[in-house]
Amino acid sequence: MTLTRRSFLTAAGLSVAALGTAASCTSPTTANPGKLTLWYTSGGLADTVVADAGQRFGELYPSQVSGQLKQRLLAALAGEAYLPDITMLGDDIATYFADTAHFTDLRSLGADTVKDQYLPWKWRAGTSPDGFQLGFPIDVGPAALYYRHDLFAQAGFPSEPDDVAAAVPTWDAYFDFGRRLQEKLPGRHLITDTKTVYTYSMAQEPQKYFTRDNAYLGDAPQVRRAWDRALTAFRSGLTAGYAGSQDPGSSVERHAAWNSGKELSFVNASWIVGELKKSAPGTAGKWRVCRAPGGAGNQGGSFLAITKYCPRPDQAFDVVRWLLSPENQPRSYLEAGLFPTSPAAFTDPRLLAPEPFFGGQATMAVLGKAAREVKPAYFSPWDIAISDTFTDELANVELAGKDPGRAWDDARRSVERLLTRQGVL
């Protein structure tokens, strides 16, 4: 056959069409058919543990997704193609509770047999209101008070963890303590910003913004309480008010304040430690940790979930169970700062070793106790957006001089508008 223009174009057209149909036929539901694809964010799982799992379970295909895991997951779910078999879900797991049809109920894979090995409140956070077990707990973020032992002592204040904890049992006591300490050490701050006060005050509450059957609590006393505490801290001049970074905790100003000793103390979840060590290595040995004023609270923490598109959910569950087993959690904590969700790990000798960065203190004693004491709470799909609205308005008061009364009204109005638009109210 001679090659004419016509036959060439026909052939070209046909091959394009053939390619098109072939592609649409082979577009796989899961990203790597025959393998178990695991999506996790960088630092979301400990890399060596994942590598070991890869050795142990030959079919595992771990894939580290950058910060945009959620967007990739949503796109894959909407297209029902190139889906992971196992995926990480963040502390916004509640936003998937309405869409559990895309996932496998871990109870059907025997999750209840290991349930007792994990913190009950964390396990429950991965359960949807209708009882679907969506998430298997990776880590938690128990909050504690981090403070500068050397500077507290220098000012003649209580400086040993137990003494400090006893001196600041409540937020009010902490504010009072702060005022007195700041007189001794002017130009320094005991509180990062109004946002941390609000966030960690809410973290201690057993009830957040919604009831378990998604009824909005409106003007709930715990919200007002957290708001007033944040304002009190600001009005007393206790907050430093750093701003200007994607996640406000990692701002340049705050890192500088850690190094210069201007930030005397702060309340934060345990995941801050990695950042603290990295940004202020010169302060090693000077920090201590004690119980947070106001009691135990949790901020953040992720889960692993298995999609319903996974052809071998039992095997996937074996992988998940192994990755997050009480035996592997101490390694994950030491390597990636992933605080264990299994209380058995709190007493692991490796985690109870004295830590030079904290002057030889074994912080697990404090943090593990806090993690055990966290009260179970229900997080609705809208909690993060609502919390952001309130803390934005607090930042407006703290940094832009907004009238607190107006800020409160604006925050409430924004939340109501948001919930009305979403069809909740």
């Binding site: 994607q246 500088a256 832009a400 638009r421």
Partner: protein, 312 residues
Amino acid sequence: MATLTRPDAPVRVTTPPRSKRWRYLPQYLAIAPFFVLFAVFGLYPVLYSLYLALQRWDGVGPMKFVGLGNFQFLVTDPVFWDSIGNTLVIWVMSTIPMTALALLIAVGLHSSIRFKGAFRIAYFLPNVTSIVAMSLVFGSIFSSEFGILNWLLGLVGIDPVQWLTDPWAIRGAISIMIVWRWVGYNAIIFLAGLQALPSDVYEAARVDGAGPVRTFFRITLPLLRPVLLFSVVMSAISGLQIFTESQILLGNRGGPDEAGMTMVLYFYNNAFVNSDFGYGAAIAWGIFVVVVLFAVLNWRLIQRPGFLKAGR
């Protein structure tokens, strides 16, 4: 219709209707790639976003039709109106100094200096630098207590500015980043314009005894008008889409007082951070309306009689 023709009649070449339709197939195929790609990646998403704007959708579950509800919210949404205001303010705050500075640089580069090529590359470099990396660097530069900018201001006796917390300083900081990024690009455009100007006009001016300043304002500037217009239109196009500078410097929520909340950032925040895709699509269409208004304004400006004629 088949008609019988006498065998001795001259053969008339007629194309049957079917082959007529297919005769231009190769040509159509040749231009098809653009239209196919446009339909898939341009037209379809545009139409789909209009459909999406009428729905409530979290990106996973079923969509729920809400009619014009999203648009009703949009027009009463104070944050959206603020974001339009912020975008326009930042655009003005960046375009005016940038144009002036770019002109100055262009005139400087136009005069006979050494290492011209090196200077041109140096000025153009910010335009092709990773904007995310630069925003992180600027984050340190603008740091209120430890930033180099406040240190420099301190040297000349100016009080430190709260670059990332004061609402107006935030807009200033974003504008500075935009100026930094686009000044070289515009200087190169102006330089091209300058080089195209006829030299006889300048010779005449010199003969008439006009000094350099007078020549600049009376001859260079009026002759450069079309180029200036081009640069303003280009800066309007990029100015209405300000996003990365705000997002990296201030986060998804625009910083204190939402001073850095631009239209596109608000869209991103709703669609991709809050997974509120229906409302996000509605915001996108709101942005579209603003851009259309701007385009009409631009068009009217250019269509004004004698606008492009230099004021000789």
